[in-house]
Amino acid sequence: MQEFVTIGTNVTRTHVRDKAIGAAIYTDDIRLPGMLHGRLLRSPYAHARILHIDTTKAKALPGVKGVITSEDIPRIKFGNWRLFPDTQDEYVLAVDKVRFIGDEVAAVVAIDRDTAEEALSLIKVEYEELPASFDIDTSIREGAPVIHEAFPNNISIHRKVSHGDVEKAFAESDYVREDVFHVHAISGAYLEPCASVAQCDYSGKITLWTSTQVPYIVQCLLATTLGMRENDVRVIKPHVGGGFGAKMELRKWDFCAAFMAKKLGKPVKFTLSREEEFETGRRRHPMRIYSKIGFTKDGMLTAKDLQIYLDGGAYNAMGPTATFLCGNYGLMLYRYKSYRFHGQHVYTNKPPASAIRGFGSPQSTFCTETQMNMAAEELGIDPLDLRLRNAVHEGDVIPELSKIGSCGFAECLEKVAEASQFRKKRKNPKKGRGIGIGCYSFISGGVFNWFNTQYPFSAAEVRVFADGTAHLLTMASDIGQGSDTVLPQILAEELGLKMEDIRVTSADTAMTPQADLGSWGSRVTLMAGNAVIDAAKKIKEKLFGAVTAHFNLNVIHDLECKNGKVYSKGRPDKGLTFGEAVALAQKFQRGEPLVERGSYTPRGKGLVTPAFSFGAQVAEVEVDKDTGLVEVKKMYTAHDCGTVLHPQSVEGQLEGSIQMSLGYALSEQFVLEGGKTLSTTFLDYKMPSAMDMPESESICVDTYEVEGPLGAKEAGEGLVSPTAPAIADAVYDATGYRCYDLPITPDKVLKGKTKL
């Protein structure tokens, strides 16, 4: 095991001071001279043909500077899955048809927000309402309303994975069960509503500040939709108030701000309201999940047949990835001797679902883990033992997909059982109390290049200076998770510097190295971290060369950078300070500064991810026998995220995931009626407050991931998956009610309880 200096310590997080004093600039905080304000006109119908749009009155309103509809802008379809243009199904402003309540129809730019808002009410749109579909069953029925003409059966993506003979395995199994689960949509519910500010200079080049997780993707797709060259568009990510997956696409206000800034010659800002966020914002996919699993009588898994319909809403968004991933998650965690998956992404006339923390995993894992718990009971095997018998281990090959480099799953199970006294508490039930378990395995970034980037997946540039400092440039995006802290932390470790010796510049497409696919799928620490190490290694070679020459060392000397020095490991007296070594190396280059670029692209890593993380979680609940209200008393977590780079941040991620998953399990949901969202405020949406949080105890299981930077891999995103099944299992333990459809609301508990 490697010994670290900076890694594994709670260095003060970059920017945290600015955030504490209110000085950190988020997109809506940006004010530019002469700036105009934009608002979007949205469809009041779930499915309708646009017959005519009259913007005359809106344009005539004093203070209005511009009104655009699809007539005024390039009609170019866009979407994140650039590799498959058929999946790119969105126009910036609706062309001919609207497909959900909230679909963007027109944009207004005016001298202030109130004027823009007033102008929206003066735009007259004539619609012809069409029959609409609000659920999977209606959409896939014969004769259903066709939402996109190119997909007459409303299924936009099919994904199949299989290995082994599933049917034969079922026939030979001692125990087989089939279940259908329904899981619902939740909001990312980041505190910062989406916003963008665009400016156009006199040569026609655009600068866009936007609340995004993916500046590079926004740059590319904005250039495409504007009909411009990529280098003519600069995207800067200011501080971002959370994203959780819902800010990982080019959004329509990005385009409208840029287009109008160019057209009007003035900066333009769009900021969404919270109501718009809840009515139209990206959300987690509701799914209908059919799963059949088989076991031998001693509890060994034989086969799994998983069929998932994803309710994608009106457009694909990140749905294709969710369709792929929920099938992959169905296959992770346990050794399935045979497996068959069919995922289908279905259009409905609702706001598009996309990526929300976990990306297909919370849904798929809810099914996997609930079935494991049900099977354990029916087979008469302890649920922990059943999992231990089937758990994947280091070196396992997931057929057709990937190889597991490091795995602490079994240890997680044992540790969480011990901490929670799961077995003992299960055997000695208390009235109204229950204990349950759920597990997960997650990815450290994806290897499939759906965006069709022409650059490495992640890149870093490192510049070092004779004053003993370094400058790290990376397009990786800190959206609150802390990449602006852990990436310089990795560099500090590699170069033997202190955090305060490193300046970090990130997420500016014109200034930071091409490219980075963004913050999603828990890819940043592993991928951008490896890019930093790659660049640091090249810097070190130059410094080692300079020190070797300076002391006329034998070329076999092993050198290192540590504690601000560069020296021979065998002869530590033969060394220079970091700054002296840089100065010397710079002289060797006749003044050229020491600048190195590093990159990372997963190659030969199968079809899923370069590294897998694992964990197990136990929930203890108390259920009120009269009201059916579930109170989660305590969550116990053991997780394996490889080397823990910044313990406080890892813990913070874990604790945040408990809040989000608690909401997923018990309280958060969109209430829709005829495609119209009724829960448009935080008050109605019901995400957990500080009063709702259970106690939490967590354990990090020590592993070292060879593919990860300094042994690290994913932390905190996968954890969003085991919580709901663990809580559901605890509710079952307490009440006899087994949840097949999230969330677990009091009425379902009261109707379903068999004891209590």
Partner: protein
């Protein structure tokens, strides 16, 4: 018709002509460039816009600017004594890792100040109650609760 108002914010006096329907949040952010106070919902649900008026916390998104004339308004920018000397609440938020994306931070800190002014030794339950109107999606509130408890201790010294 605009009204002339005088606002006392963080010890500074500002004379402004504003429309009577504008909220304190809008005036702080747009007229006074005090953008540390955020707007998370505009409904008074999330608490990101919390400021103190005469020492008590209010949602600046639900407060009209004209209604707080002559009152002492404190925003997050008024917490630290200087760029170097932060308020104990801010120091505690930093040390305990209570800040991730940072969007709820200003409101959380102001609610914490409101609590600690009235109750210098709160229990954990009292801290949770005090920030029940401040939503956070990143932290699960654990480290925020810890930070406020620690700030209470720091403020007594």
């Amino acid at each position: 018709m605009k009204q002339l108002v005088t606002l006392n914010v963080n010890g500074n006096t500002y004379s402004l002509a504003i429309d009577p329907w504008r909220t304190l949040n809008e005036v702080l952010r747009e007229d006074l460039n005090l953008t540390g106070t955020k707007l998370g919902c505009g409904d008074g649900d999330c608490g990101a816009c919390t400021v103190l008026v005469n020492g008590r916390s209010v949602s600046s998104c639900l407060t009209l600017a004209v209604a707080v004339q002559g009152k002492e308004i404190t925003t997050v920018e008024g917490l630290a004594q200087s760029g170097e000397k932060l308020h104990p609440i801010q120091e505690a938020f930093i040390e305990h890792g209570a800040i991730q994306c940072g969007f709820c931070t200003a409101g959380m800190e102001m609610s914490a100040l409101n609590l600690l002014k009235q109750n210098p030794s709160p229990t954990e339950e009292e801290i949770r109650t005090a920030i029940a109107g401040n939503l956070c999606r990143c932290t699960g509130y654990y480290k925020i609760v810890e930070a406020i408890g620690d700030a209470a201790k720091k403020m007594k010294v």
